[in-house]
């Protein structure tokens, strides 16, 4: 465990001395802030329209904070598609390029601890990104009374969603010494996992159902609606496990290739 924490610590420190962390954090804060503002304005306008249209009769009740947070989280899911590859792209590719992998692979640290340390660092950094979004969400509590349940499940969903993509990104970063290449490949992979349900739209019947089920964004929708389904938990967790397993195997394969 100490080994894992040592690796996590070094990785986090190196995130924050390189520009990557600040660029990712800055762009993420800016984009998510702008979108939150836009969603807020849009939702309020929509509510006003509904109220104006209902004349004398009682207006249909609208869950304003719920509506805002759902849209906001949906947008975050998409922004993160672009940000997550940048968190993992250098994790192993840079070690290989700089030759520091030779230190890590000859230290009394198991490959499993190494993978856990790298993944832990990526997840910790991602948690910081998610933490930032608590600020706009908490303002909802100042002006309204949002339901806490769906917010909790939405964060759980976003966390698992991010963690599973980070695990895949970690694997991709073992495949090349070039971190830009790793970043682009990861982005491509994530994008593909995202749009499989679009392909599903063209197909029909069971094919469509299966492909929709495979899209990484589909379970996220359930989480945001406050639905906690075991199948969704299993989906993200098995995706993460797959990514970590492939990472582990890929490190073993390097040793043999040299």
């Amino acid at each position: 465990m100490r080994n894992v924490l040592t690796i996590v610590g070094r990785e986090l420190r190196s995130y924050f001395v390189s520009p990557v962390a600040y660029v990712v954090l800055g762009v993420f804060v800016l984009l998510s802030g702008v979108f939150f503002q836009a969603i807020l304005v849009q939702t309020l306008q929509m509510v006003q329209t509904i109220q104006a249209q209902s004349f004398g009769g009682t207006p249909q009740p609208v869950d304003v904070p719920g509506e805002i947070s759902r849209q906001y989280f949906g947008t975050l899911g998409v922004i993160l598609l672009f940000m997550l590859p940048m968190i993992t792209m250098g994790l192993f590719s840079e070690e290989r390029k700089r030759g520091t992998i030779e230190l890590l692979l000859t230290a009394p640290v198991t490959d499993l601890q190494l993978v856990a340390g790298k993944f832990g660092a990526a997840v910790a950094f991602y948690a910081v990104l998610l933490g930032v979004t608590l600020a706009p969400i908490s303002t909802l509590f100042l002006y309204a009374d949002p339901a806490v349940g769906p917010l909790v499940t939405a964060y759980l969903g976003l966390f698992l969603y991010g963690a599973s993509l980070l695990a895949l990104g970690l694997f991709v970063s073992t495949l090349t010494e070039n971190q830009i290449a790793a970043g682009v490949m990861t982005f491509g992979l994530i994008l593909w996992l995202w749009i499989v349900d679009v392909l599903g739209g063209a197909a029909g019947g069971t094919m469509r159902a299966v492909l929709t089920r495979l899209s990484i964004l589909t379970p996220l929708g359930d989480f945001m609606n406050g639905v906690l389904a075991v199948s969704n938990l299993v989906f993200y967790m098995s995706l993460a496990a797959l990514g970590l397993f492939l990472t582990y195997r890929s490190i073993d394969a390097w040793r043999w290739k040299g």
């Binding site: 420190r13 030759g99 520091t100 230190l103 000859t106 009394p108």
Partner: protein, 319 residues
Amino acid sequence: MIQVENLTKKFNGTPAVSDVSFSVEEGEVLGFLGPNGAGKTTTMRAITGFLPATSGRVTVGGFDVFASPIEARRRIGYLPEHPPLYAEMTVAGYLRFVARIKGVPSSDLGFELDRVMETARIDHMGGRIISRLSRGYRQRVGLAQALVGDPPVLILDEPTVGLDPKQIHEVRELIRSWKGRHTVVLSTHILPEVEQTCHRVAIIARGRIVAVGTPAHLVERLERAARIVMDVAAPAGEAAAALGGVPGVADVRVLDASDERARLEVEAAGVGADVEPELARAIVERGWGLFGMQSSTMSLEDIFLELTTDEPPGGEAAS
């Protein structure tokens, strides 16, 4: 302390190291001498467990580096060919990280850092960012990194590369001072380095060990080994055969042959006996004329080249 048995490492089917076996006793310093591409780095990587062997076995302190890698690695300090440095870290921050992953207890951390930094002569550099260090200082940080945790076995791949002459001298002194305390394997292309620092030398060429011995033994072998150039009045082929039959002669080459005259080069192996009188007798007994005989001992460099190349030294340079 270190046992290498029939180590073979292939890359995509091409062997980089073939059937290498040697052992290093506790407290011994073994020098690995060989030209570029000989397989020194590959062998060292197999010892540290970075690259698993294609076949063969390596044990360190009794632990198989493949079957019980963690136990074996705990005993090894390794300076790779390219020092494995994180450029954005400070020297002290980097060494602290290395100490932690090597399992140095937190309570000893400060003491251990001071110790290795002093040994590698970087005690005033703790706060410097590694990317801004000169090459020589990076090499020193690499060396300090290998010493962290005071491991009994040190594997140093070209430890003096990039250092200034004073520092080279210091590092050699340092390695010498370890004799008896650390088991060391170091690689180099530099002959005097091996002579000055090592108990034993293994000369490696094209992935095979071609000679192992103490530097003194090698030097002795060199001094006794001689090249004798002879001018004789005899058919070249017959003369070469006659000289080749003399005990102690390793090789005979015809340098020049014209009509009844021949110039031959005889190489005497290091058996110690003076072969010149025997050579002269071999010629004269057969009724041939002996016009001249000139012997020269081989230099250390000659032997090195002799051991590690196929081409005769001093031939036409490839262009």
